[in-house]
Amino acid sequence: MTQPTPGQDLATAIHRRLRRSLHVRHLDSGSCNGCDWELNSLLNPYYDIQRLGIDFVASPRHADLLLVTGVMTRNLAEAARLTYDAMPRPRLVVAVGACAVGGGVFAQTYAAHGSAAPVLPVDVFIAGCPPRPEAVINGLLTAVGRL
């Protein structure tokens, strides 16, 4: 019997808590698209996040976890709130990148609220500008531990 690897641990934890795969909805709340490209790359054959039992879905109604990228703009704060309200429980929110975590370079602009935390109940924060795809996987691993 070999020791389970972190990847197997994650898959087992997801299955134990959700009884199915972890479905992720990506929400861009005013991003520069840097973080969005890193999230896109999670689905490519090189990072292949589906091997861990995680997939991206097209609607918050199908999602267990909300990945928020970008500074929270005033225009999108209400949309972000509605997106969160549409998610079934249990639900998680993960802030990805400097803007969603701490406001980043856009924190002081008139059009932005700043970080995602005052608008959404963020469970896990992933730093980076943008974070490496590995860092996002690491953040999802941390988030699943919170379920």
Partner: protein
């Protein structure tokens, strides 16, 4: 050598990463700053150059100050690394910057004042 052999050669073949079972197999080109308190000469060039005010320096009692870097605000531009006159800030390959609380992303260092 046929073209297909070249494409399948270990040099060009990129396989799916092993992460999280194995560490990331390439290093970041954008360096994560880290701080060496014993080298700091308190010239505060980093403070002036940081575009997101991620660096904070505050004095804590007698003969000590606290140098703090908030990775949650840091955009990894490496300007602080470039500008530091005493090379107290260096770049690392650290990328697993994840926390359940924004305060968990703040790295603090205590610096003794030299006089």
């Amino acid at each position: 050598m046929r073209l297909v052999d070249l494409l399948l050669s270990p040099v060009l073949r990129r396989r799916t990463v092993g992460y999280p079972n194995t560490p990331a197999d390439s290093v970041t080109t954008r360096r994560t700053p880290t701080f060496a308190p014993e080298l700091c000469t308190d010239q505060r060039a980093c403070l002036a150059v940081c575009p997101t005010s991620a660096i904070r320096i505050e004095s804590v009692g007698a003969g000590q100050r606290r140098w703090a870097l908030d990775y949650g605000s840091c955009i990894f531009c490496a300007e602080c690394i470039k500008v530091c006159p005493s090379d107290a800030i260096a770049g690392t390959d650290r990328y697993e910057l994840v926390a359940r609380d924004p305060a968990g992303l703040v790295a603090t260092f205590l610096v003794e004042d030299r006089s």
